[in-house]
Amino acid sequence: METQIAKTAAATPRFQEFWRVFRSNYMGLVGLIMLIIVIFVAIFAPVLSPYDPSSTLNVTTADIYNPPSAAHWLGTDDAGQDVLTNFIFGARVSLTIGFFAAFISLIIGGVFGIIAGFYGGRTEELLMRFTDIMLVIPDLPLMMVVIALTKPSIFNIILVIGLLYWTTTARMVRSQTLAVKSRKFVLRARAIGSGKGHIIRRHILPLVLPILVVQAVLVVSSAVLAESTLSFLGLGDPTALSWGQMLNYAFGRGAMSTGAWWALVVPGFGIVWVVLGLTLLGQGLEQILNPRLDTHHLMPGRPIVTSEAAKVIEKVSGKRPLLEVQNLSINYVNNGKPPARAVENISFTLKEGELIGLVGESGCGKTTLMLALLRLLPSAGQIVNGQVFFNGRDLTALSEEELNTVRWKEVSIVFQGAMNALNPVRTVGDQIAEAIIKHIPGFPRDKRLQERVIELLELVGIAADHKDHFPHQYSGGMRQRAMIAMALACNPQVIIADEPTTALDVMIQAQILELLDSLRKKLGLAIIFVTHDLGVVAEMCDRVLVMYGGVTAEYADVDTIYNEARHPYTQELLKAFPDLTKPKKKLSSIPGYPPRLDALPAGCRFAPRCPLAVDRCHKEQPLLHKLGAAHFASCHLLEASK
């Protein structure tokens, strides 16, 4: 039954998996290469450098600040020494101090962070307050004072940087520990009977470690910078010629006035190289750790592809329904790979005052379809076929500006999870008023606007005094009501409701559904109701479109769907849905899982899970067959019964 997984390749080791991702991250790769080069230079310094760094003998005044030449590729410095040689050996000092100091600070920060995050309470309070204090004390002046009062030796510098640079690590590790600790698998580990040590070792550490690695990279770069700064200010170890020390000597001993730019540029270049390499590596690792699609809602959408053939058929029809979706297909562009066919050839109509249900499991393309109606798809989404007619206008052919007069004014949306769909830093009333101002140009912006907002809020059952509250002050149910009030603000003809009751309690869900139903009757709204819940659909809808894997499985009026379903998927789904009127009935489940959009089966998309599938189903995609006046289903088995 779960053979799906058996067919895929054997599990890949974690490191290989990491390397595969890392390789395609240019930032991290460039950083790593830069770092490897400098480490190589530091290790093989004696081989690479043209002169012996300790030879200060035989230097005459004529050797001081010589410009680059064949003998001295990068010139000589204030002591007549070869700049290239000192530069190569300087890498050793800077890197040693950087790595050791980072090591100390990571140990302190890591231990503090994990203890504070894991144990919480007073321990956490104490440790974090101490960290906060250390964080505000300006670190450079403090380091300068401490090193000036003690002795500027490499050991002291490492110690001071290490003891001062742990604060950010401690904070990062603590918040990561807190985040891991609150995850359910830690609770499950406790439920199994694991002790604290076991949980820290097996569950917290493995998940904190990646953060610590990123942090390590960044702390090394800060430590290298700190060392060079201290050295430049004359607080470096006089016996170790680091890059900062070289700059200190050059700046303090006349490189500026003699115009010896090479003595100033070369060591600085070394510091920038190391710090930039580490920063790039750190950023790259960070990106892998917290992958973020660098996409957002304001990116330009992809051009719409419309077939000319569809437009011709279009002109024949007579009286038009309010909304008419014709053969709409949507792809997700998948860089390099063939596009994912998220929605294919969906058609439906919506009349005035009608409520149509769009039902399907997660990943069936219902939300994509809904967003495409108003062309709100994410930037990877592309309409590749079909049209959306609203009052006879083809929405797919409008410009963004023209479309903006249809959005919300004619067709508005109630989104799922209204917490995130409302702007958290603006009041609810303000956000409702915004829609009115935008779409009703002449609307007076005085008391009448406020009255209209209050009227809308009261329409959905929110008291007027909540108008100036922020979304976080509302409960989940109230936010959903506010979202509905906002959707009604410009008296639209159509409302698209995208899972408006998911994540709400049953009673609140019932309240919202009843509200929508009564508003529909009162205002004559047409509603597209997107949901995964067959029960809700049965309670409210006039017609139902059942989607599976991006295509229409069955499309009919609500009574037909529930009592005379013909598509095997609809039939099986109904059997899996619990029915309170028959409590003793054993539920049956559909074996397997819904298909992933990037790995759709070759034939009928339901075939791998279908109890009635025959050979043909695995090879050929079925057409949508008309079974009655307004009853359609896509299944090979229904071909004969047309």
Binding site: G193, M507, L573
Partner: protein, 328 residues
Amino acid sequence: MTKEHFLEVQGLKKYFDAGRPGLFSRDVRYVHAVDGVDLQLRHSEVIALVGESGCGKSTLALLLMGLEDPTAGIVSFEGRDITHLNDNERKDLRRKIQMVFQDPYESLNPTQTIEEIINEPLVVHGIGNNKNERDERVKKALEDAGLKPAEIYLNRYPHELSGGQRQRVVIAAALVLEPEILLADEPVSMLDVSIRAEIINLLAELRITRQIAVIFITHDLGSVGFFADRVAVMYLGRIVEIGTMLEVLEKPQHPYTKALISVIPVPNPRLRRERIILQGETPNPIDMPQGCRFHPRCPVVMATCKVSDPPFVALSKTHQAACLLLVK
């Protein structure tokens, strides 16, 4: 020790500190998460604990697991009070009571393989003399949880599995300790409808093949139907109605249960019925209403409801509800 009730809960309460209402205020306020719950569980019995979010059902589960300490009350297992155990006794008890969590995406450590996940409880408890013995138990647990053949899954990571498969892994990790009680906290609410029945059927099977008693916590009365023996309905920290599955679903007596059942959608448009929709939202459990805690939302509220807290009224040998309308 009563043989029949091997898990017994008496007057269980859990209050969380909610801070002071004001800077100079003396009294500390409390969240009454669980506020006096009595419950008995028999061997291999399935009880469904139903309620909306904030009714205290999840806190009750954590109390039963010993993952939270109760403010008052007793939980006894096989006649022994288990609310005040030391770490070793607690650890031994863990082998008897196991838990399945709501979110299968969150309840598996992403850095462990399936084998490590299932093997972990055995290592923690030092079960099994050698690796072979442990491997056998791990495989048996996986196959009992419906992941056959086990070998395919052992070296995989959770992210390579689907939601339903992950929930099976969580169940297998609980089964490997051979528990007597399984607490399932909303085990199917995050799964697709077509997968839900599969997990519920698995739990129903286990109570028959392994004699495991199940406490099934859910907000969805519809899903408890065919495998729960008894149903308990919770509201604001307390059980308001308890009875056999058919008694509660077909003859509900408490107005809250009635409303809850009436709003559950029936998947048949021909059976659309009158719904009792309660207005407002569940009050926050800090400022508990006086009298009956349901009275502010009750459609059939009486004057006395605002004053006196209703007692449990026995309606049959197995059916009880806490409502003043039922007091004769």
